[in-house]
Structures are given as structure tokens and as C-alpha cells.
Symmetry: C2
């Protein structure tokens, strides 16, 4: 287990600090101190702080996006002409977050923060390229859901896929911030223990699949009063 080289140590330190404090709040000085590297090394290896952020994001998002598409491809090949069941599509969407994500609860939390920031800073120079990766995946998954649920109105399906995609990073990567009144504390255990993670995935798949399959809501044009024209 040799000590990683300077470049790698900087990437690791930057990921940790960007996630914890934010991009602007993290100084290059803090990164190099944490990485036990010299101040100038960041500019030598990455040429700018912005560029370093981009590398940090791509290193994480790239493999997840790739794996999602791999799983979806395999699923579609296996099914041939028949549409895939929504549960299987949802599984392709979520498994990579656990397979390729960090192991510990603390690391998982950090990754959530990192992704969350990237979404908020979607137009920032460092985030753009990384988010394109996810965008491509979105279209493929939308098509798969469309095929699996041909009876749903276009707009309804659109919203449902929207709800699902939007909730993914926060629901999965972030431990629960709010605890219920009861004594059921899921935040720590659920995100670290392998079996609990399996459980969490099954819970989410059941929840999302039911939401997707629900009958489309009525399209009452006026809500109060008002007869038709």
C-alpha cells in the first residue's frame, strides 16, 4: 500500500474539502496542507483551482454514469423487443451509486454534498462537463420508462421521471437529516452496512415503481367553480 503520488493526494484532499466546505470556501492552501503537498503543486498538476474541481467531479461521476448505461444496455439486450419492467430500470439507475460509491457513511455523505453542489453550480465552469455525462444518461432512461409504461400521458411520465431523477442524489447519498419522533435512527447504519444498503435500494425501488405505475391524475382543467366553455 504505497503512498499515492502528489497528484492523487491532491485529488483526494480536494474532494474531501470541496465537499465539506464548498469550492469558494476551500483555499488551495488548505488543499495542499491536507494533501501534504506544496502550494504550487496544484497549479503545476491542474493549472487552476477550477480545473481541479472539474477533475474531482469527473473522477466520481464518470464511472457511475458509465455503469448505469452498461446495466441498461444489458437489460435491454436481455429483454429484446419486450419492454423491461420498471423495477429493473430503476435498479440500473441506482445500483451504481452503491457499487461505485464510497464505502463508509462519512464518505457517502461527502459524495452527496459534492454532487449536490455540482447540481447547484451547474453552470459553473468546473461543473459543466461533469453534468453532461448525467444528461446523456437521462435521455436513455427516459426512453426505457416510456417503453415500459406506454399508457401514461407524455407529460405525466415526464414529471415522474423528473421526480425520480431529482430525488436520487439527495435521497440516496445523504443520510437523513431529520429524524422522526420515534427511536428509529437510520442515518448511520443504513448508509454504511452492506445489508442495510440492499434494504434501502429495495425500499426505494418499491416506492418509485409504485409511483411510476400509478394511474395518471385526472386532468380537471378548472379546479374551482367554472363550467366548460
Amino acid at each position: 500500500m504505497a503512498r499515492p503520488d502528489t497528484r492523487e493526494r491532491i485529488l483526494q484532499a480536494a474532494e474531501r474539502l470541496f465537499a465539506e466546505r464548498g469550492f469558494a470556501e476551500t483555499s488551495v492552501r488548505a488543499i495542499t496542507a491536507e494533501a501534504d503537498a506544496n502550494l504550487a503543486a496544484v497549479h503545476y498538476h491542474f493549472s487552476s483551482k477550477e480545473n481541479l474541481l472539474e477533475e474531482v467531479l469527473l473522477r466520481r461521476i464518470g464511472p457511475i454514469a458509465r455503469r448505469r448505461l452498461e446495466l441498461l444496455d444489458a437489460l435491454e439486450r436481455e429483454r429484446g423487443e419486450r419492454p423491461a419492467p420498471v423495477e429493473k430500470i430503476l435498479e440500473a439507475l441506482i445500483r451504481p451509486l452503491f457499487e461505485l460509491g464510497p464505502r463508509s457513511s462519512g464518505e457517502r455523505r461527502r459524495l452527496a454534498r459534492l454532487f449536490g453542489r455540482a447540481f447547484l453550480e451547474e453552470s459553473a465552469p468546473g461543473s459543466k462537463r461533469a453534468l453532461r455525462r448525467l444528461e446523456r444518461a437521462y435521455r436513455r432512461f427516459y426512453a426505457a420508462f416510456r417503453k415500459a409504461l406506454p399508457e401514461l400521458p407524455e407529460e405525466t411520465l415526464h414529471w415522474r421521471v423528473h421526480f425520480i431523477f431529482k430525488s436520487l442524489p439527495s435521497a440516496f447519498l445523504n443520510p437523513m437529516r431529520f429524524h422522526p419522533a420515534g427511536n428509529c435512527d437510520l442515518s448511520g447504519r443504513a448508509f454504511s452496512d452492506a445489508r442495510a444498503q440492499e434494504r434501502l435500494q429495495r425500499e426505494w425501488i418499491a416506492f418509485a415503481a409504485a409511483g411510476l405505475r400509478a394511474a395518471a391524475p385526472n386532468r380537471e382543467e378548472e379546479k374551482e367553480g367554472g363550467a366548460s366553455p
Copy 2:
């Protein structure tokens, strides 16, 4: 329509800039320039930049959290001993975001970014107090769902409420970032037009209610191989 006083102008400018660029990325100078106020005015009225952030957040989150609880109270009074239908509970959760939120699509987007940042920066001094408000609401809503769905295992319900709460700000306040392959562009219209907003609320309530009501997933302890002991 008199021009708001300095304090108010600063609050508005700060909200806009914090949401768009982030807290650390926004200088007090930029805020006062935008608010057409003097540099020193921020420290006179709020005593620090951190404090200004706290005021900005509370001004938005406070009324929403209050209104949610009002609606839930009214619903429970009306129902008496009988549990409220999940659709009604979900409505109490989401209506205030539209009633009290900003009118235009651009403003709504800003609010989403502001809340998103607050969640990410949950432990930062400026965000803490504002988030406590939402935390209190969480417990009340959890209890209402618990009563409405007594047959669900505790942990399953917990996760479902978790999914719902986590998805709320991103799913509602943020226009869709990714567009589907089709020509159905919801991002602009759906968030500004009043009728489209009604539609969006109905879509979400149908989706979430179905997810909540789904049968709990089986509790297979081992996923692969392994017979029971």
C-alpha cells in the same frame, strides 16, 4: 409603490446573489452595489455577512414552515379521530411552496438554489436556525403519515417519508435541468403559469401517494444463494 428602505433592498439583493452565486462567492460589495446602498450599511443593519444570510433564509423558510403546519392542523381538526388521506397530507406539504413562493419562474429557480445551498451548508452558522424550522415540521408530518398508513412497517414508512422530504425542494422549485429526447419542454411554462402549477402539484401528489401506499417490499435477508438457518 415606494422604494423599499435600505434594509429591505439589501435583503432582496442578498437573496438574489446568494442564490445565484453562493454565499462565499458573493461579496458584501456586490450586494450593496446591487441594492444601491453603501458598503457599510450591511454591517450597520446586520452586523455581519453571516447574519445577513440567516435573515435571508428565515424570511423565506419561516412562512412556508408555518403555513404547512397550519394546513396540517386544519386537516387534523377536520378529520378528528379518523386518519387523514395521504393525498391531503401531501397537499399540506406542498401547497405552501407555491402559495408563498415567488411568482416568476426565475424567482422560483432562485429560491430552489437558496434552499439547496442551505441544506448543503446545514451546519454553517447562517443556515442552522433556518433549518430547525423545517425539522419541527418533519416530525408532525411523519406522525400524520404513520397514522394514515398503520399497516406499513416502521422502517419502510420511514424511508418513504425520507424520499419525499428529500425530493421536495429539488423536484418542485427547480425547473428541469435535463430535457427528454421528445419535444416536451416543461421547464419554463410549468413553473410560472398558475394552471401548470396546479397540474404539477396534482402530478406529484398522485406519484407520491402511490409510492406511500405501495406494499412493503419483501424482507429477504439474503439476496443470493444461502438457505435459511
